[in-house]
């Protein structure tokens, strides 16, 4: 009874917060925290939770959770990956039935769910205190618009993975540190080895967005209510795209579509001498390009300003609690526990090879000092942990990234593939985004 009462009170608070028309400042301190009694009671009452996630073997972490809380019974369901996952989630939310209690959500899609008030604000459950446990920029991804909407699980800070043998043949002992050097190296690599220094996949908006992120740009913004900021054709963005367009037009960088058979073969065969890719790239390569083991090395991204190294993020995801859950305390504890406790988080990093968001793992020598044979014994995790600390902390998303990505593919992506006017295509992308936002009733800034 008491549990039901508190749950109702919380959901009332949660809706109150997410509706937050004026984004009031003092409101949150007024929200009552979950009392220890309420928490203990919730966690010792037999409860069934459903958890939608695509993360492989996450059952192991969930099993640890169930050991810690024997009364809680979690059902893990994989309803599909990528777009499919979100489609099913949205359908379930819309129909008001069958939605899970906890769901895996990538950072860029969080605003599209807060828009529909579908996520529970975790602040009253104590999530606000977790901020210090995660890398700052990651926390900024989940703690937006006066709420904490998810608990971070993994991230994808961008680095540069390259073939040491090919770069050596072109006269380089290490990765180019700046973009100017990178362009010069691209020329050398092409001339001396015939390979492309890397491939900028025409159909991979997330990669280009990560590069815009690195350049300190803020192409997207959302205030949590009805106003969006769209600035994908800023001068800064045009500079970045111009750089890649020049390389592509000079045939020094390829723009082949990613994740195709052709692309996999090019990686394995050394037609691409490198890949600007996030921290999940190393494990991916080890599976795809096994025959090139020992020839790879990891480095930070090339820099625009060498004195001030920065990076962007591509990928990673979090666990959010749905507003419709009947067991908010247990659901929150599941999302928190597997992503905050030392055992499950270390397990994510070492068994599922998810690049951690939690500082405790990022700073643990057991994680950072691991030497990877595929990378010639390099301590790859350490490099990416250092990169993670340099990711620009401010980066926001639109509440309709699915459309934004598909519109990118129809505009900038097409231009890149044809090695045409990708810079001009940024204007088309901007126009399509503004049109869509206006049509959907948003105020565009």
């Amino acid at each position: 009874m008491a549990l039901a009462g508190t749950a109702a009170a919380f959901s009332f608070i949660a809706t109150g917060c997410s509706a937050g028309d004026d984004g009031g400042t003092g409101e949150e301190s007024a929200a009552p925290e979950v009392s220890t009694d309420a928490f203990d009671e919730a966690m010792s009452t037999p409860t069934k939770l459903t958890f939608w996630t695509w993360v492989p073997d996450i059952e192991n972490q969930v099993a640890l959770f169930e050991q810690a809380y024997p009364e809680i019974d979690v059902t893990v369901e994989n309803v599909g990956q990528g777009l499919e996952h979100y489609q099913k989630l949205r359908s379930a939310i819309e129909s008001g039935e069958g939605a899970p209690d906890v769901a895996q959500i990538e950072y860029q899609y969080i605003p599209s769910f807060t828009l529909t008030d579908s996520l529970l604000d975790l602040t009253p459950y104590g999530a606000a205190d977790l901020g210090g446990d995660y890398v700052e920029w990651v926390w900024n991804q989940v703690a937006v618009n006066d709420g904490v909407w998810a608990i971070p699980q993994d991230t994808g800070p961008m680095g540069n993975l390259y073939r040491t043998d090919i770069l050596k043949e072109a006269g380089y002992d290490e990765a180019p540190a700046t973009y100017d050097e990178y362009a010069e190296a691209a020329k050398q690599v092409k001339e001396k080895t015939g390979a492309y220094i890397s491939n900028l996949a025409a159909n991979e908006p997330t990669q280009l967005v990560a590069l815009l992120w690195q350049a300190g740009l803020e192409p997207f913004g959302y205030d949590g209510a009805e106003t969006v900021t769209i600035d994908v054709n800023s001068d800064g963005a045009k500079d970045v795209v111009q750089y890649w367009q020049d390389l592509a037009q000079a045939d020094l960088v390829s723009t082949d579509a990613g994740w195709t058979d052709n692309w996999f073969q090019n990686i394995a065969n050394g037609n691409y001498a490198g890949w600007l890719v996030p921290a999940w790239g190393p494990i991916f390569l080890q599976g795809t390009a096994e025959s090139t083991s020992g020839l790879w090395a990891a480095a930070p991204l090339p820099q625009w300003d060498a004195a001030n190294p920065v990076s962007g993020n591509w990928g990673g995801s979090s666990d959010a609690v749905l507003a419709s859950t009947e067991n908010p305390i247990a659901a929150y504890e599941l999302a928190r526990w597997i992503n905050a406790e030392p055992e499950p988080t270390m397990m994510f990093a070492q068994e599922q090879f998810l690049f951690p968001a939690a500082l405790s793992v990022l700073e643990d020598p057991a994680f950072t000092d691991a030497e990877v044979e595929f990378f010639g014994g390099q301590q790859v995790n350490k490099i990416f942990a250092e990169i993670s600390a340099t990711v620009n902390p401010e980066f926001q998303w639109l509440p309709f990234m699915e459309f934004a990505y598909s519109s990118y593919n129809e505009t900038v992506g097409v231009a890149l593939e044809k090695k045409g006017d990708a810079v001009g295509a940024l204007d088309d992308w901007q126009q399509q985004l503004v049109d869509y936002a206006t049509e959907q009733g948003f105020t565009v800034q």
Partner: protein
């Protein structure tokens, strides 16, 4: 024979009480079609009505749902992506369907003529691609088309030729036609072959007594006799063409830049519903697409009937 004896007493009672008997008779009839009607209503009419209803509304991410009448339809009629997709499929129809059906007819006639050796295994071989799921077929062809490592490209390179860009902008439609033709030739062939088998053999005997050649028999007896079956395959092909979905959806993964969201109208409706999250507009597109298919199928049927009347005259 047995039927009449059993029927007799029933019809006698029916004569005695005509009204009740008739009522029972028709009630039984309804009972027999009931399972079908339930499924038909639940699976066809209700969803159709619901999407018609949906298509009259507009739902915005901000501001919710509002009745907008036919706005979605007028919008679709000026939507370049939708019209482009319909136009592309019309082109597809005009080029691919005659090739596919011509090939199917040729194979059916060849197998039926009995001249071809091992006709049974030939029939099976031609039909086999239809048994391969469309998804698998597209993945397989996607590999064959690969620009750098696909066997076709490699064969061209081995001969010192530039391979055609089968997944590029100029080649993709042709590549797709090839997949669809490969997949459905056997299916259409079986329909035509079955129709050919039902032609009375006396006609052939008469023709050969008159000294007609095999080609003459094919042109003057076989093809006219299976005209209804051919019309059927044409209508199936019209419907299939405008509803193409698997091929663009799967080729999208290997030629993502060339396959635009509106490559085929059906693919466009899917993208509008699930990427743009605009279910209402997608419903309107689906309806218009249905209308286009109905009109073209009707025109095909009408013109074939006219042609037939002319022949009979």
């Amino acid at each position: 024979m047995a039927d009449t004896t059993v029927d007799a007493p029933v019809s006698q009672t029916a004569r005695a009480k005509p009204a009740r008997g008739k009522a029972r008779h028709s009630a039984v009839g309804y009972l027999f079609v009931l399972p079908f009607m339930i499924l038909f209503v639940a699976m066809v009419l209700v969803p159709l009505g619901y999407s018609a209803y949906l298509s009259l509304f507009e739902e915005k991410l901000i501001g919710g749902e509002a009745f907008v009448g036919l706005k979605n339809f007028t919008e679709a009629l000026t939507d370049q992506a939708f019209l482009g997709g319909v136009g592309r499929m019309a082109l597809f129809l005009v080029i691919q369907v005659p090739i596919m059906l011509g090939l199917a007819l040729f194979l059916a006639l060849a197998i039926d003529s009995g001249r071809a050796r091992a006709s049974r295994s030939a029939r099976l071989l031609a039909f086999m691609p239809y048994a391969v799921p469309g998804v698998v077929a597209t993945l397989m062809w996607g590999y064959l088309y690969g620009p750098d490592f696909g066997p076709i490209a490699q064969a061209f390179e081995a001969l010192g030729l530039t391979p055609p860009d089968m997944l590029g902008e100029s080649g993709i439609l042709g590549s797709m036609m090839n997949i669809v033709t490969w997949e459905y030739v056997g299916y259409n062939m079986i329909i035509m072959y079955a129709a050919l088998r039902s032609i009375p053999t006396e006609l052939y005997e008469a023709a050969s007594i008159d000294g007609a050649s095999q080609i003459r028999i094919a042109l003057s007896i076989k093809i006219p006799a299976i005209r209804p079956a051919i019309i059927l395959t044409v209508i199936f092909s019209v419907i299939g063409t405008f509803q193409l979905f698997n091929e663009p959806a799967l080729l999208d993964a290997i030629a993502p830049v060339v396959i635009t969201n509106g490559f085929t109208p059906n693919f466009y409706a899917y993208n509008v519903a699930f990427v743009n999250q605009d279910v209402n507009y997608a419903a309107a597109i689906a309806f218009l697409l249905g209308l286009v298919i109905a009109v073209i199928s009707y025109v095909v049927q009408l013109s074939s009937q006219r042609a037939e009347r002319k022949v009979r005259r």
